[in-house]
Amino acid sequence: MLSKERFAWVWLTALAVVFALYFTYISVNADAVAGMHMGQRIGLLAVALGSLGVIALLTTLLGRHREEDGTPTPIDERDRRIEARASVYAYYVLMAGIILVGCVMPFTTGGWTIVHATLLAIAAAECVHATLVIHGYRRGGHV
């Protein structure tokens, strides 16, 4: 398995686990979370996003594939094509989420609901990106 595909798998899993834990926690403890100070709530969010950052960093550092002569595996035309295709669809998902969060939700709700909807939009776009990268490497890279 290529390091890029392996990274996509780890990233997809990490997104699912971290956001599932975060949203489950704030749903189950809704009253307690609502009573938290702003700093505590931001801290809770920072822990979730920070753990994602650490996972991404460790996966990148540990999963770097190198050639026999020690040079990093080059990115070629197939990698670029898979990345471009995944990015296009992830962009559409992100745009749909941003329109919902920025143009619709301010008229119906506010505060942390918008923050969480924004996070979900970003997570959904990242999940689509990672899924299409995996799909691209599995199928071979046809557009």
Partner: protein
């Protein structure tokens, strides 16, 4: 002349890379990839017909085997 809108869903790019590698002294996919400038996995995907290379990459592969493009790649309906 190309027919715009023609159904090309059944058509696919074929190749003789595996045979040509064999004839070139069992050249490995990694060796070919290095000479062409792509990864071994990309050569494997091209060989298996899972990925259609760019025209530039196709020409580079043909150049490695010192063959014209049409002897390396084909178009099958």
């Amino acid at each position: 002349m190309a027919i715009v809108g023609a159904d090309m869903s059944e058509a696919r790019v074929t190749n003789q890379i595996r045979t040509l590698r064999f004839l070139a002294g069992e050249m490995t996919q990694a060796d070919l990839g290095k000479r062409v400038g792509v990864t071994r996995q990309t050569i494997a995907a091209i060989e298996a017909g899972k990925y259609s290379p760019t025209l530039e990459c196709a020409f580079r592969i043909a150049e490695v085997f010192d063959k014209p493009l049409v002897e390396v790649f084909g178009w099958e309906r």
